[in-house]
């Protein structure tokens, strides 16, 4: 502000102090917003870590290797929860990957603009279905009408039905992220392909999909992370069996399912050793898994990003 007293003839290039002050205030507001969200996240992680540590100090480490997940009885086989979670995620991806990618290819490469105008919003409607509805749907429709029809030996609560429902839940995510990636592939690339006498499916599968592969892989990873974190569907449709099983026709607790149970309190026993704290331990493991997946998808996008 040393130049404020210059004569009127000199150009005044200093900023208006009021504007500068306003600028600074706005900057502080945005800074505060970002700081608060970081602080909240850190606080959550810290409380997770703290409670998880409490939990680990209260139990014998061998309890984590006991057969099955039965917090009331001091059996905390986290591996069972992880395995169940992965079984459901695998089923969900088996549904969502082909459907989502197929939908993305159709929307991006085949659909005429007016068709896309109708289809894309419908996909978003699917994304908006509350997962409790899908969970109920899995329990009352997919299990009796699909799973039991195909495999009469399936239990009432089973991974297959829950996995299919989770798959339906994440189809829109796979489709929309993949479609964005595919539409970002320059038209010039498609023209090059068509100009060589390629059919549409050649162009889609051999040029556009490979060119968009980083985005598509990222979509898949995000979808897996979403599937792992999905709670309501598995709580309703996957059952409460704590014994580790790999069969899609059996039911069982997933990480989120176990947490939901603990949180609701159906498994909470006054004075029970560490049962309640196990929630935080599972939560921490879950957090690390989804965090790792998100970092991985970031990496994939950056590593394989095409310059075109």
């Amino acid at each position: 502000m040393a130049l404020t007293d210059t004569s009127p003839q000199t150009m005044d290039l200093t900023g208006d102090p009021k504007r500068l002050a306003r600028e600074a205030r706005v900057r502080r507001v945005f800074l505060a917003a970002s700081v608060i969200s970081i602080v909240v996240s850190v606080a959550i992680i810290l409380s997770l870590v703290g409670e998880a540590w409490n939990f680990l100090t209260k139990i014998e480490l061998g309890d984590l290797n006991e057969n099955g997940w039965f917090p009331r009885r001091g059996r905390f086989q986290i591996l069972a929860l992880i395995v169940h979670t992965l079984v459901i995620s695998a089923i969900a991806m088996a549904v969502a990957a082909p459907l989502g990618l197929g939908a993305a290819i159709y929307l991006s490469e085949y659909a005429r603009p007016n068709v896309r105008r109708v289809l894309k919003p419908s996909l978003e409607v699917l994304a908006g279905i509350p997962s409790v509805v899908l969970g109920f749907f899995a329990l009352t429709f997919i299990t009796p009408n699909v799973v039991k029809n195909l495999f009469s030996s399936a239990s009432q609560s089973n991974f297959l039905a829950a996995g299919i429902a989770v798959g339906v839940l994440i189809v829109p995510l796979v489709a929309s992220v993949s479609e964005d990636a595919m539409r970002a592939v320059p038209t010039a690339m498609r023209e090059a392909s068509y100009g060589l006498g390629a059919k549409r499916w050649h162009t889609s599968l051999r040029v556009v999909v490979p060119a968009a592969i980083s985005g598509i892989v990222a979509a898949m990873i995000l979808a897996v992370s979403r599937a792992i974190g999905e709670t309501m569907i598995v709580a309703l449709a996957a059952g409460t069996n704590g014994i580790m099983t790999l069969s899609p026709l059996d039911g069982g607790l997933t990480m989120t399912g176990a947490m939901a149970q603990l949180a609701i309190g159906s498994d909470q026993v006054a004075g029970a050793v560490a049962a309640f704290q196990s929630l935080f331990f599972v939560g921490l493991v879950l957090f690390f898994m989804t965090f790792a997946l998100n970092v991985l998808s970031e990496r994939v996008v950056r590593r394989f990003r095409n310059k075109y």
Binding site: M189, E191, G195, G197, V207, P210, Y308
Partner: protein, 298 residues
């Protein structure tokens, strides 16, 4: 190549027609007479009163134009006069544009490419294209060249074909040690030669080039021009260019397009003059042509 046979079929069936249609076309348009006493080579492609619309917009009006075998035909004219639009009708690339509509005929050895039973995919295997901006696929150099033959069901020795195509495009020596590396690692001029190699790997009959040198420096441009001269022994080439000297240097015949502004303000392109390149550049029949080539507008 596997489509070699079918191409011969199409050609044989229409050999006579091609030569015949040439006369009426040039006679129809007294302002676009192909002069010279030397008999012109056979007509490979011929536009017959071509009109192109983008939605309601009339982009190109009534263009009739023959393309002769083993010649380089240059399309020149001011920006927006519809050169690219016309070029893209030769192999039905305009089909990719939702709003584009084509009227009139594009005869390829006498067969109308816009007839209902024509498959644009087949058309493009005979009539290849090189674009203004080099557009290699995000694949290796090898896979870029091999793409067309692979999707065409090529059953011969792919390695040989890749080498031959790259050699013909005067690129092989520069890339022979890095065929498996990404095509994006090449310079712009190399990428454009790669695109030319890619286009000729499917052994087309005609190669269309839309301002193939506009993104290149003078030396790379010169190389591509030399390349075109070599390629014309085997292919028929149609090139769009903004560069007058280039048209004069490389082409055998030149078509000059101009824009006409209609009452509604629509800028519709049309063919002003078509002739041997020497004639267009030394003794044009139309005033607009002369003004354009002498740089007075455009």
């Amino acid at each position: 190549m596997n489509e070699g046979e079918s191409r011969v079929d199409v050609t044989r069936e229409n050999e006579g027609t091609g030569a015949m249609t040439e006369e009426p076309t040039t006679a129809d348009h007294d302002d676009a007479v192909a002069g010279g006493d030397v008999p012109a080579p056979a007509v490979v492609l011929e536009l017959d009163r071509l009109n192109v619309f983008y939605g309601d917009f009339h982009a190109v009006r009534d263009v009739s134009l023959p393309i002769h075998e083993h010649e380089i035909t240059a399309l020149i004219g001011p920006s927006g006069c519809g050169k690219s639009t016309v070029l893209r009708c030769f192999n039905r690339m305009n089909d990719l544009i939702e709003t584009a509509r084509v009227e009139g005929a594009v005869n390829y050895h006498g067969v109308d490419l816009y007839a209902p039973d024509i498959d644009p995919v087949q058309v493009r295997r005979h009539i290849g294209m090189v674009f203004q901006k080099p557009n290699p696929f995000p694949k290796s150099i090898y896979d870029n060249i091999a793409y067309g033959p692979r999707i065409g069901g090529f059953s011969g020795n792919l390695d040989d074909l890749v080498e031959e195509s790259l050699t013909r495009a005067a690129l092989f020596d520069e890339v022979k040690d890095k065929l498996q590396e990404s095509a994006f690692a090449l310079s712009g001029g190399q990428q454009q030669r790669l695109c030319i190699a890619r286009a000729i790997a499917t052994s087309p009959d005609v190669v269309l080039m839309d301002e193939p040198c506009s993104a290149l420096d003078p030396i790379a441009t010169l190389r591509i021009e030399e390349l075109m001269q070599e390629l014309k022994d085997d292919y028929t080439i149609v090139i769009v260019t903004h560069n007058m000297q280039q048209a004069a240097r490389v082409s055998d015949r030149t078509a000059f397009f101009n824009v006409q502004v209609g009452e509604t303000g629509q800028r519709t392109g049309h063919l002003v003059e078509y002739d041997e390149t020497g004639k267009i550049f030394t003794n044009p029949g139309e005033r607009a042509t002369e003004e354009y080539i002498t740089g007075r507008f455009g």
